[in-house]
Symmetry: C2
Subunit: 766 residues, 2 copies
Amino acid sequence: MSDFSAIGQPKPIIDGKAKVIGGAQYLPDMQLPGMLHARFVPSSYAHANIRSIDASEALAVPGVAAVLTHEDLPNIVPSSRNKLLLARGRVIFVGQPVALVLASTEAAAADGAERVMVDYEPLPTAMSIDEAMAEGAPLVWPTGVPKGSEDAGAHGADVDEDDDDEDDDFKVGTNVAKEGFYKRGDVEAGFAEADVIIEHTYTSPMVHQSSLETQGVIAQPDPLTDGMAIWSSTQDPFGVRKEVASALGLPESLVRSKGAVIGGGFGAKFPLYEPLIALVADKLGRPVKLVLTRSEELLATNPAPPLRVHLKIGAKSDGTLLAIQAQIYLDGGCYPANMAKFVGFQIGSYYPTPNLDIYAVDVVTFKQSTGAYRAPGAPTAFFAIDTALDEMAEKLGLDPLEVKLKNAARPGDLMADDDVWPGMGMRETLEALQAHPVWQNREQARAKGRGVGIAVGGWMGGTSPAAAACTIDRDGMVSINVGAMDISGSTTGFTLIAAEVLGVTPDKIRIVPSDTAVSPFATGTGGSKMTYTSGVAVAKAAEEVRQQVLAIAAEEFEAAVEDMEIVDGRVRVKGLPTKSISLGKIANEGMKFGGDHPTIFAHGRAVVTDQSPAFSAQMVEVEVDDETGEVKVLRLITAQDVGRAINPMAIEGQITGGATQGLGWALYEEMVYGDDGQLLTGSFMDYALPDTLQAAPEMETILLEIPSEHGPFGARGVGEPPVTPTAAAVANAIAHATGVRMTDIPMTAPDIYRALKARNGHNSHT
Amino acid sequence: MSDFSAIGQPKPIIDGKAKVIGGAQYLPDMQLPGMLHARFVPSSYAHANIRSIDASEALAVPGVAAVLTHEDLPNIVPSSRNKLLLARGRVIFVGQPVALVLASTEAAAADGAERVMVDYEPLPTAMSIDEAMAEGAPLVWPTGVPKGSEDAGAHGADVDEDDDDEDDDFKVGTNVAKEGFYKRGDVEAGFAEADVIIEHTYTSPMVHQSSLETQGVIAQPDPLTDGMAIWSSTQDPFGVRKEVASALGLPESLVRSKGAVIGGGFGAKFPLYEPLIALVADKLGRPVKLVLTRSEELLATNPAPPLRVHLKIGAKSDGTLLAIQAQIYLDGGCYPANMAKFVGFQIGSYYPTPNLDIYAVDVVTFKQSTGAYRAPGAPTAFFAIDTALDEMAEKLGLDPLEVKLKNAARPGDLMADDDVWPGMGMRETLEALQAHPVWQNREQARAKGRGVGIAVGGWMGGTSPAAAACTIDRDGMVSINVGAMDISGSTTGFTLIAAEVLGVTPDKIRIVPSDTAVSPFATGTGGSKMTYTSGVAVAKAAEEVRQQVLAIAAEEFEAAVEDMEIVDGRVRVKGLPTKSISLGKIANEGMKFGGDHPTIFAHGRAVVTDQSPAFSAQMVEVEVDDETGEVKVLRLITAQDVGRAINPMAIEGQITGGATQGLGWALYEEMVYGDDGQLLTGSFMDYALPDTLQAAPEMETILLEIPSEHGPFGARGVGEPPVTPTAAAVANAIAHATGVRMTDIPMTAPDIYRALKARNGHNSHT
């Protein structure tokens, strides 16, 4: 680390101060002249035909300019959620936008929306996985299940992508969207050979990403070009451009998409309402703004899908895993989430076994569609496999950490799909915790009525092409134009990478905000891959600029390029600090009328096609209240392999945030639908996010650096891993403290209380 | 030409329609929330001390928010005109901004400005070159003449640039800013050997560029970064950034400068009021807009400087030039224009002679500063040298065109500074006219009372570094980000260049508007050099993208890169048109999550250090009204060497426009100052621009293509040459029709009438 001057130093997020003092302009802050505010009329039913819509009262509200229904919009095939514009005769989830009210103020739009009368004919629903798969179930898509989301793919999940022929993929007469398998060896033979078998059904609910800032979009038509400018709270400005261009029938170049400063994404903010609002702005010829209320955000966006995992594992008495069998059921809501198979991949890959039999199925139900949420599916996958291994160790009287180390994948082992694990640090993260005093002293903790649990999770990481441009101003400021949307500090990381390559201080680097009209393309920010992929492009662009600078300086100094160096923003002959030229002066050479040197300007292109899996092992110490079932998490220690810590401060922030969300998964968060399809947790009064009183354990972070071959300076993705093992670690800690094995998350106080009662009942019987 | 698919085809200017239908947003169309409108209080005196400024009445005008004087601004050394902010105790020209009134409307600002009372103590002035150079003349700069403008350098004039040490250059105790010399051989010996000598004093007045749109600027402070956004009607967004950053004491990266759609520049729109308005916006913390009225535009900008050229040439009886002697006096107004020597360079270079003696001097006077106007100084230089040669031929009874051909510079000849002429087509342009029927039939024209005159002019052309970026969208649209401000069609030319290189149709190319925050650097648009320099960078970026596309396609086709070709926007194996991939599809390969190919994105850098002089020969046929002296120009034929006609339609537009401005120089335009320093031609009622009734001869354009070694596809600069020979050609035509030799431009009807009367009187005496 001491070899580096910029990377590896803790650096506060560049726009942190602006965000804290209220200076950052988020989407809701933006106002455009002549702008209309939109509010949608949400469906009251999970499944119903629409007999009629009466907008007359709404139109009488002062300030209401228009009430639009599907009749005002083009009849676009709703092949994915962002193309489900306004309901076309039938609704398929509670909260689905049926009509859109446009008004000169938000208040008038809300008043108008309340006065739109919709006459529904209710239809039977299928809300659960079992109902949806039952014979004769009402069909969400009678004419065929659409292909649905690729968001999980965006995060690095292994989604089968059929190139551009969506229509081949529609399944008719069923709510089953997709099935998948992994098979190896003979699980029955494995179980037969096993000394111990653990078998449970694990479940996880619909969980909402719950960004501080809700979804929002502004669309402004350009009457001159018939093009459209879009600002949105998005992780994916170029994806927004693509979807909006497709909806409007425009070439992408006529859609200018910018990501506003974002108040949290976590996988939810891929294109959603942008095409609808763009179509409306186009129709009305005025700028239109939609910012979701918190209830709309909970009712009609794309939270994490409910999952049910039936898992059976068998092992020898020494803890050697012999077989894994799993059936995974995923409820995608009204569009397929296409993630079930990847959940199976994770369950079948992290602890390799000779005998594997995994079946995964994605179903659709009459609920809002689901999407990506930080390491999609992984918290559930690790909750299942890692608590099962923990329980197995307990049954065998073995140290659970030793059992996990014994079975944990090594580079070169086979994954579920028979691909080979690349270099990675799964075992090292476990070993880092093994050495920790909290682990060493866990029995003392138990003696005090506490429990210490450990689990390991990980994420394969996304890959993508990337590009960046780099130039230097006359005053020595370096500009990097990279197109990547910053949702959690990637901009600050790029700053450090460019500073390191160029030999300048990070304050001399400026990152141009992503704007599809002027930035090189970048894929959406997701999959823990922006630093990993775009960081490579940034480093390449900066390196090329460095070479350009050295070439000019070498001419000025009449020296060889290879004898030049850049130190502290000045170029000099190596070892001759007395004579040097500032980068700004070199840049100025390329900015002169009649100058002799070309302008300093370079591009970097990259395509990182290999994943660099990143692992996060967590250890929690809990206290369980026997009287109430309430779990208090006292400590949470994360050991994570980050490959290379470009910005340790931002990484620690990511890890702390991910672990906190993991506590939400473990103990609190659950979106509950009634049998009639109504969302019962439609506000933060009902939906239990962890708050600082509940979930503020002492947090500790241990960064391991097992360099990736591919990321910049060896960096691996860091955003997703820390959310993946938390629920499993908490469950293992609860078991350590109480002997109770929980199999449903969230593990709420009432659930644990019931389980403790059952244990006591059971104990009293034996 | 048939080898090309895109270049060489006439292509209407891309934003032409938007401009015609009122869709283009010029700076005056821009409104920002909270914006204040500025109006300045102009000095009533050419030279005076300011005793006091009373703003009380102005501040009482409803809507007036502030009245600022120099006391509200930092005390910046007024080293060039754009740093002469508000008068600091003394005014040095009529119209100089003394105070600035800021109001919520333009009308309130104007009302306020009329009510600011300024108490002056008038001081003696020096308005003419002779007054300024006289012993004991009042000094414009008692503490030393500042360095002044580099605008002429921006246009490719050979200005000595002293690097960054402005202070060394101040001359104290004089109004003479700069002197220069060219000397070769022995002019006295040359004249002694001569059979004929022509000697005159030629003059040209202050001439205004008179863009349809006046100067304008909006500055918007960014309270978050303390930076500044600037939009202006400018030829030079990066120059604006530099000057504004310097005035505000900011790094350039905190100044975001964008050029608005421009309604004409012609050399006038280099940084002028941007620093002042940025300082005011910074002080008030609000956006501020200044759009000059037409009188302010005429009163306080930077028109072309008045010139006086004393020229003596001698030749043998066969027309061979033996000696040129010239003294050039240039009145720069209150700042040195630094152009006199380059006028001498032109006089001494185009018709090489063994004996040369040129003296040039730049003086300052109590007038508005002068600046660049399309081929700065050249109309006067050619007016002098080319009419003198014409007169000499007449005296010798020789064909003037033959005499010019005999003496015209050839590649390899020496220029005035003893540099060598590179490849160029001076002679070819003359030969093209020689073959023209109007020239062949000129004696028949004369028999009908008309006259045919010919002259040749040219421009050395600017050079500069340049850079561009290129990428391709998923729909096959190509984006070029080049930073060069488009004032006369360069964007359309870049489109054709990129289309040609990439093998797509021009409608598939989009040029990103110049924006210093996101565009690669470009020098200001001037010197007929944007296509010539930035065009090379565009071609390089496009070629690099082409190679990237071919590399991906070759992989897809499993073929060698060198066997691939792009035809009509599709890549294929050479000669196998049945199997091909669109550029968009190739680009999409670099835009996929988990994709295998890098993003298509490339930079091009260029530095064109060699000039490619371009020549324009013009022939005019005139009819002179004996009774009034009025000249009617019947035809104007231009033969111009454009190197390569990238866009013949735009070039013809440039040539027609340049020639029309040349007619303004020749016959109409003159800014007249009274002895008291008042501008007597302060509106278009008094300042005589050519109108369509006066100056709409039949225009004909002959494009010659003698390729430059340096420009893209051989292109040379085309903007400036067509204005250079017009005045000379008209004068020669008048002489051909009437026998009268005019030596002062404009050659107005009263002047010609007087000259005709003098000729008649003279004739009657002989």
